[in-house]
């Protein structure tokens, strides 16, 4: 069953160009959204049941013979699978209307499915080289999706993203090569085992530095963030939502956390580095966001800032901190996805992304304005929405760990976040209607439908936060908090 998370998107992507020959729009829409929905249902229903007895290791059998394709599912990977399927489904629904004027829908969906396959694969694999491989699958699909509009800016942003991402991949690959040279193994469990018995602090430090640089670049942490403010706004809105909501978290934060918590083991020094990297990202990106006039660019800077919160929470390394970090990852994925989709609705209706040119759009686009407000307030940490609880947990964990300075930074930066989100809301939606927009209409059905679903989710997560935490976040953070020993003991090797 679990292999479907990788196999089904690849299979669907492979047949989509053929389906595109039969029907240019309807069938590609239907097939890809059916795949997204199926995988979401699979993750939520049978996935939960599968790991109810603890983490499992699955071996693929081909014609009765075992082949060396193994995937592992634990609370953390299942949580990520759920987030990936959920957001991809909403983005898929939004694309039904939004991608109409871009052309070649079947190729667009094929790339989206490949990106999903890459992210799902990355979450499920059990060895370092496969991590690199699936990282590249997701990355290659994302380069071309960023450039999908084929205008000058988009191609330039995509090229910049490609170049910086290649540096990240090279660093990660070098680190994997050194680890392989040192231990003779690539599997997470075997590498963790060998590293414990080896006395090679210097080399391990070198590898850790390369991983922090590589995955930091993928996660766009300050100072490795230069590519994101160009790449994310240039992409079509649904792709911006996936990139900011998912890709930086899966290929950056997930991979970093998996390797540092379950393979290397989180040392106090490493924990400090992660916390300060997170804190610097939060503050620097929040100030940079304040000065932006382009709506999507402001959201892109905000993504850097919010990923900082996630890394800060995870970096604390206490069970509470990890839970807070993961919960914020979930909240940010949903809310930022929503905000980027809304920016797409606004751009499609008005043709501009410049905040100064907008104004009073709430009268013409009431649903978009309302959902945008919900998303903004959640990310800024206003109760009772989801973002409030996750930030609260992170700050509580910081106080518990006696990191008063960072706790104050996290609170103050949250105020900054509220400031620039209200700026968007005021400049774009509130106030007097700009004469230019008097004929603007609300976005089409599927676009509004997907933003409404996401907005309801944001509210739902906020109200039922304790259920969400006990059923999804807790199993995930348990895996990380227990670290390598218990996890691999329960895998039985």
């Amino acid at each position: 069953m679990i292999f479907l998370f990788i196999g089904l998107p690849i299979l669907a992507a492979a047949v989509l160009p053929l389906i595109g020959k039969i029907s240019r729009k309807f069938l590609p829409d239907l097939v890809s959204n059916a795949v997204f929905l199926f995988l979401l249902v699979l993750a939520v229903t049978s996935g939960r049941q599968m790991i109810s007895q603890g983490p499992i290791l699955k071996q693929l059998n081909w014609l009765g013979e075992p082949v060396s394709i193994q995937v592992a599912v634990d609370g953390f990977s299942l949580f990520m699978l759920m987030v990936i399927s959920l957001l991809t489904l909403c983005v898929g629904l939004f694309s039904i209307n939004y991608m109409d004027h871009y052309g070649s829908k079947s190729i667009y969906y094929a790339l989206l499915l490949m990106m999903m396959a890459g992210m799902n694969g990355l979450v499920l694999v059990t060895d370092l080289f496969s991590v690199y491989l699936f990282l590249e699958v997701a990355a290659i699909a994302s380069y071309s999706l960023v450039a999908y509009g084929l205008e000058h800016d988009e191609l330039e942003a995509s090229f910049k993203y490609l170049m910086l991402s290649v540096i990240a991949s090279a660093g990660i690959l070098l680190s994997i090569a050194v680890i392989f040279g040192m231990t003779g193994n690539l599997g997470f469990a075997a590498v963790a085992e060998s590293l414990r018995s080896l006395d090679a602090k210097f080399v391990v430090g070198f590898c850790a530095a390369l991983f922090i640089m590589g995955f930091g670049l993928k996660a766009a942490l300050v100072p490795f963030h230069a590519w994101l403010p160009d790449a994310h706004p240039s992409a079509p809105a649904p792709i911006s939502a996936i990139l900011s909501g998912l890709l930086i978290k899966v290929s950056g934060v997930y991979a970093l956390t998996r390797i540092f918590f379950n393979v290397f083991g989180l040392t106090p020094a490493l924990s400090q580095i992660l916390m300060y990297l997170g804190a610097v990202s939060i503050v620097v990106a929040a100030f940079l966001a304040l000065g932006q006039k382009d709506m999507k660019r402001m959201l892109a800077y905000s993504s850097i800032s919010q990923v900082g919160y996630v890394v800060l929470g995870l970096g604390i390394g206490t069970p509470l901190g990890i839970a807070g970090g993961l919960f914020h990852l979930f909240n940010h994925a949903v809310a930022k996805g929503l905000l980027f989709l809304n920016s797409g609705s606004v751009q499609q209706s008005t043709g501009t992304r410049n905040l100064d040119e907008m104004g009073g759009l709430a009268r013409r686009m009431p649903v978009t304005a309302a959902t945008n407000l919900v998303g903004s307030l959640s990310i800024s940490g206003v109760p009772p929405l989801g973002g409030f609880w996750s930030k609260l947990i992170i700050i509580m964990a910081l106080v518990q760990a006696d990191e008063w300075f960072l706790a104050v930074v996290a609170v103050l930066a949250s105020v900054l976040t509220l400031w620039y989100y209200l700026l968007i809301q005021r400049k774009a939606f509130f106030g007097k209607l700009n004469e230019r927009w008097k004929d603007v209409k609300e976005a089409p059905f599927w676009m509004t439908a997907s933003t409404v679903i996401l907005a309801l989710l944001v509210i739902g997560i906020g109200i039922f936060f304790s259920t969400v935490i006990t059923s999804w976040i807790q199993p995930a953070s348990d895996v990380l908090a227990k670290g390598v020993h218990l996890l691999f003991a329960s895998w039985g090797f």
């Binding site: 990106m115 090679a200 070198f206």
Partner: protein, 160 residues
Amino acid sequence: MVLQIVLLSGLVVFSVLAILSKDILKSAISLAIASLLLGIIFFRMSAPYAGVFEISVVAGLITVLFILTIALTKAEGDVREAKLAKIVFPLFFVIFILIDVFVMKSLIQNIPALPETAERGTFGDVLWKQRTFDLVGQLAVILAGVFSVLALFRKRDKNE
């Protein structure tokens, strides 16, 4: 040892040429020579499969594709290059060499010798029994690449 140093220096020189050369045809050929040298280094370090792939795919197939593409496309005037690149690349190159000389030696001495695990078993064994998952990944990479080409070279139909 001398041969090894000659091969490695050749690899560096041709890689740099591939980046700095203004003529993309010369770049492609330099890249092919660099990967040919890398293939020979793989052979000498008893990794014949890696060597075969490096020479056949990178030096052979990809170079043919590059040269075909260059032959089929028209040059549209000179590409304006940022001045920064001329300063940044040599700077990074020097930094890289310095790190290589001062750090890598001690780093590599710290890595315990790898037990003879590399490329044990026949080629088929390694590919099908030990690293099957990589094939799935590679398939996905190729598919993603094909779709990228289809997406980036599609004709924009405004009426669609």
